[in-house]
Amino acid sequence: MLSLEKLTKTYRTGDQALKAVDLEIPEGQVVALIGPSGAGKSTLIRCINRLVEPTSGKVWLGDIEISSLGATALRQQRRRMGMIFQEYALVERLTVMENVLSGRLGYVGFWKSFLRRYPQSDIDEAFRLLDRVGLLEMADKRADELSGGQRQRVGICRALIQNPALLLVDEPTASLDPKTSRQIMRLICELCAERGLAAIINIHDVALAQMFVQRVIGLQFGEIKFDGPPDGLVPEVLTQIYGEEDWQATIRKVEEEEEAVE
C-alpha cells in the first residue's frame, strides 16, 4: 500500500539523513521504526507526507506517486495520511473540539473552517472519536488544560478524523509515563486494527515496540539495518542498530513486564 523507492534526503548542511531507503508496507500493517537519535526516523516519516521534501527517490501511496505531486494534489493526498506527533503538537490555545475538527481542514473550504461551521457529519464523527478515546466531556476545554496522555488522545482523534489510509506516528510516547505510554500504544494499535489502517510508528522504547507491533524496522545512519518480526530483535541485532551495550536487560524487561501485566 505504501512503498518507498530509493528514498534519499540530504539536508542543506550536507547531512545525509536517508540513504536510498527501500520499503514496502502492505495494507493494515503496523510497523515500528526504531533506531538511535539522528538515524533519520523523523525524516523518513516526514518525507512520506512531504513535510520534509525528499532529495530523490519515490514515495507511492497506493497507485499515486506522492513525491511528484503539485501543491494542490499534495494537500489532497495529505488527507489520506494522518499524523500523530511527539509532544502532541496540539494547537494549545484552541479547544479540544477545534483541534479534532482541524483534521478535516483538507476537506472543508476556508470560510467554513474560519467560521467553524463544519458539516454535521464531521461534528458527529468528532464526538464519536472523542467518546471512543474517553474524552467526550473535554470537548470544549482548551487543549492546554489537558494532561499529556489526554492531549495525545486528542492528537489521535485529529489524525483519525482525516479518514486516513495510513498513520504516520512520530514518537507518540516520548514524554509520557510508562503506564500512559502503554495505553497510548495500545489505543493506536487497536484503532489501526478496527479501521484496517497501516501505520509507521517511530519509537525509542524497544520493549514497548516489541509488545504491540507486527513488524520492526531498525534504522541506522539513514539505512535499514533490520526488518523482521519483533522477536527477531536479539542482542546482536540491537548492537548492530544502536551500538555495543548490555541488551539482555532491555529484552528481559519485556518478558518481565508482560508477566506483570498479567
Binding site: L51, R75, F85, A89, V91, S102, L105, G106, S113
Partner: protein
C-alpha cells in the same frame, strides 16, 4: 589522581573575564571614564540663564496647582476630540495593514521575495521618525489632522508588523506543522496553526500601540499635524501656563486610563 586535576585542587576559581587580554580590558575601562569626564566638561551651562529660568519654571509648576480648564474649554475639547479621532482611526488602519505585512515579514512562513518587500516597508517606516514624517505630510496635505492620521498609521505599520513578524518567527513549529499535515490550505494553516499562537501578543501590542498613538498625537500638533498638541502649543506661546497645565493633566489622565484598560484586556486574553 590525574595531573590535570591536581593542578586545580586547592586553588580558587574565578569566572573568566569577558575580554581576555588584560591590557585591552583596562584600556577600554580607563578610556570610557576619560571620555565620560570630557563629555560632561564639554556641556556649556549658562548658570545665569538657568537662574533666570527658575522663576519661569516656578510659575509653571505653580500654575499646575490652579489648572484652568474653563477659559479655553472649547479649544481644549476640540483638540482632545481631534486627537482621539486621529488615534482611533490611525490605529485601526495601521493594525489592519500591519497584519498582512507582519505575515509577509516572518521568514518561516513567507517566501523570500515577499519577505524582502515586507521587511523593506518595515525598515522604511521605522527609520523615519514620526515628527519628520509629520513635517513632510503637513507640507503635502497642509495643516490639520489628515497629516497626523497618516503619520500615525505609517508609524503603526513599522512598529506592529515588526513585532508581529518576530512573534510569528518564534512560534512553536510543531503546532503549525501538525495543521499542515492535515492537508490544510495556506489560509487555513494561518488561521489554525499560526493565529491562535500569536493572538495574545497581537492584541497586547495593538492596545499598546493605541496608547502610543494617543501620546504621539499630542506631539504632532507642535508641527501642525492636528490634535491636542496644537492647542497645547498655542497655550505655551501665549504664556497661558494654567491652560497648558489643564491640557497636560487631561493627557496624563487619558494615558493612565488607557494603561488601566490595556492591563485588564491583556490579562483576559492569555
Amino acid at each position: 589522581m590525574s595531573d590535570a586535576l591536581s593542578l586545580h585542587l586547592g586553588k580558587p576559581w574565578k569566572k573568566p573575564p569577558f575580554i581576555k587580554r588584560a591590557w585591552l580590558r583596562w584600556l577600554i575601562a580607563v578610556g570610557a571614564i576619560v571620555y565620560l569626564v570630557l563629555g560632561i566638561a564639554s556641556v556649556e551651562v549658562n548658570w545665569h540663564r538657568v537662574y533666570e529660568g527658575l522663576d519661569r519654571g516656578a510659575a509653571f509648576i505653580a500654575s499646575f496647582l490652579t489648572p484652568d480648564f474653563l477659559t479655553r474649554a472649547t479649544d481644549i475639547r476640540e483638540g482632545i476630540t481631534e486627537s482621539i479621532v486621529m488615534t482611533v482611526a490611525s490605529s485601526v488602519v495601521g493594525i489592519l495593514i500591519s497584519i498582512p505585512i507582519g505575515l509577509g515579514a516572518a521568514r518561516n512562513i513567507a517566501p523570500l521575495p515577499v519577505y524582502m518587500i515586507c521587511r523593506g516597508i518595515i525598515a522604511l517606516s521605522r527609520s523615519l521618525q514620526e515628527i519628520i514624517v509629520a513635517i513632510l505630510l503637513v507640507a503635502i496635505f497642509g495643516f490639520g489632522p489628515l497629516a497626523g492620521f497618516l503619520t500615525l498609521s505609517f508609524a503603526t505599520i513599522g512598529f506592529l508588523s515588526k513585532l508581529l513578524a518576530e512573534n510569528i518567527e518564534s512560534m512553536d513549529r510543531s503546532q503549525a506543522e501538525a495543521i499542515r499535515a492535515t492537508g490544510s490550505s495556506w489560509p487555513q494553516w494561518i488561521n489554525y496553526g499560526v493565529q491562535p499562537q500569536v493572538m495574545p501578543r497581537l492584541i497586547g501590542l495593538s492596545i499598546y500601540r493605541v496608547d502610543i498613538n494617543f501620546r504621539e498625537s499630542a506631539i504632532l500638533g507642535l508641527v501642525g499635524a492636528g490634535g491636542i498638541g496644537a492647542t497645547l502649543n498655542t497655550a505655551f506661546d501665549r504664556y497661558e501656563f494654567d491652560t497648558a497645565a489643564a491640557i497636560l493633566i487631561i493627557i496624563i489622565a487619558i494615558v493612565m486610563a488607557l494603561e488601566y484598560v490595556s492591563g485588564i484586556i491583556r490579562a483576559r486574553v492569555q
